[in-house]
Symmetry: C2
Subunit: 266 residues, 2 copies
Amino acid sequence: MKPINERCGSVRRVDTCLSAPVRASVPCKSCDLQACRLRDFGLLKRAYSLRGLERGDTLETHSRNCLRFWIVKQGTGATCRMFSDGRRQIVSLETTGDVVCASMADNDNEHWFEALSECKICEVNLTPWSGELRQNADFLHAIFEVMHKRLERSVNHVSTLGRLDSHERVIYFLAELALRLGARDDGKIVALPMSREDIADYLGLNSDSISRILTRLRRSGLVRFLSRTEYVVLDWSAIAQRLPISLPETFPNAMCFPSQDEEISR
Amino acid sequence: MKPINERCGSVRRVDTCLSAPVRASVPCKSCDLQACRLRDFGLLKRAYSLRGLERGDTLETHSRNCLRFWIVKQGTGATCRMFSDGRRQIVSLETTGDVVCASMADNDNEHWFEALSECKICEVNLTPWSGELRQNADFLHAIFEVMHKRLERSVNHVSTLGRLDSHERVIYFLAELALRLGARDDGKIVALPMSREDIADYLGLNSDSISRILTRLRRSGLVRFLSRTEYVVLDWSAIAQRLPISLPETFPNAMCFPSQDEEISR
DNA sequence: CGACCGATTGATCGACCTCAACACCAGTGG
DNA sequence: CCACTGGTGTTGAGGTCGATCAATCGGTCG
């Protein structure tokens, strides 16, 4: 690992970690994002504002005692953590529709949300209404499902980092991202809104290794790169064959409470 | 990694993964576990039963559509995942008071709960009441906090696996476990209810490395081992000095909703 | 054009894994 | 009492994977 002064040399690392430069912050009248799980609460319209972030901009909160969420409306972001010597770990990727619980991005722990591409974030600060929301079953159910889904992803990430080797990690990453972005079919183009170093920080590797592995995967015909930030999955079966785990299903919701029309299993 | 037939050679790995031998399953009249976050719901008493597990016994569920929890009342367990070639990753450690959401241990994904030591588990199956509980704000708040806390731990685990080297991981592990088990002071004895291989599967290393690292830590005076399963943290400051992250605070709850008597930060 | 940044690629190094041998311990059976 | 066994932990020798370091290339921006 590089010492802190080297790894934090770029502007992105240091200058933007401490404050979030708000490019645009306007109250948004109506939320038309289908995937957003926190819509439909009358309160929200009073509480949210739309923020535009450029690549590298970050969001942080200064208190754990807050009820605040960041919903990705456009673009791709990441929840990051920085160690005291400058090592960075991307803890999770956030794509359209994902809801980030801001209380987990407190600056004491060196956690923050970071835009990997140009992003539109809907910030919802519900702290003033936390008392009444504490009694609102629909709201509590919604944020429970959000946390449940995030936990599922995180658990997957733990398995990946703990027991997959570097090639498997990259293959899994490319396939999972393709599925999350809706490119389940062969030939669909996936936008890869991250640098090699971002991928490395997500997968616990370093950027040289990422680069090497990507060229090997390209040569072996699993994926094709149209540019540095666009790829196509060519051979799903080969991918499945090279992974010791199945790719995650993309359930629309967390499925913890059985829905009305389904058989209840006891 | 060893091939599956070798790694699954022990009884623990294969025979017990598919079914949970119930050593004792009696309805428990009253729950006196202070740390349990799911008590105080009238419904629970009708729904729960106490199960005694021996080391190696496992619990699984066969449906994602269930509202079932396992609460550790005594002993230490782990949420595990096995890959198709036999690699195992311990996704999280569960100690007294921890609440495991059973729907995340469905057998399709090769997830399960496993007793690392002799355990008493309170199994709470609330599936029949999921309809009314979906409207119960207190219950929803409780399980939200459970998930929030689990997510915090998982995120920590991701950082650990992604960016700490083997020595740092073991040091962090020993210190964190000591704190979780209440041995914050120098000299307090910590019970280590796991084999070297369990630790390895938790930290993404292998058991030989664990053994090597433990002897080095012992020699350097950070910890003292009374036996293979008991240790004492000798030098907290040296531990903090050798870690690039601070040890997690052990908050009593998730602190996402501000409590009544605290200043609300907006 | 030069400065700069990110990506690529090769050479080398070191951390961790693999494999094997051995120690230790509890249990079992003579 | 000893021999034997199986399981777990320890330790050393050697190999491999991924990190590190450096050189080069390509693109972008001033």
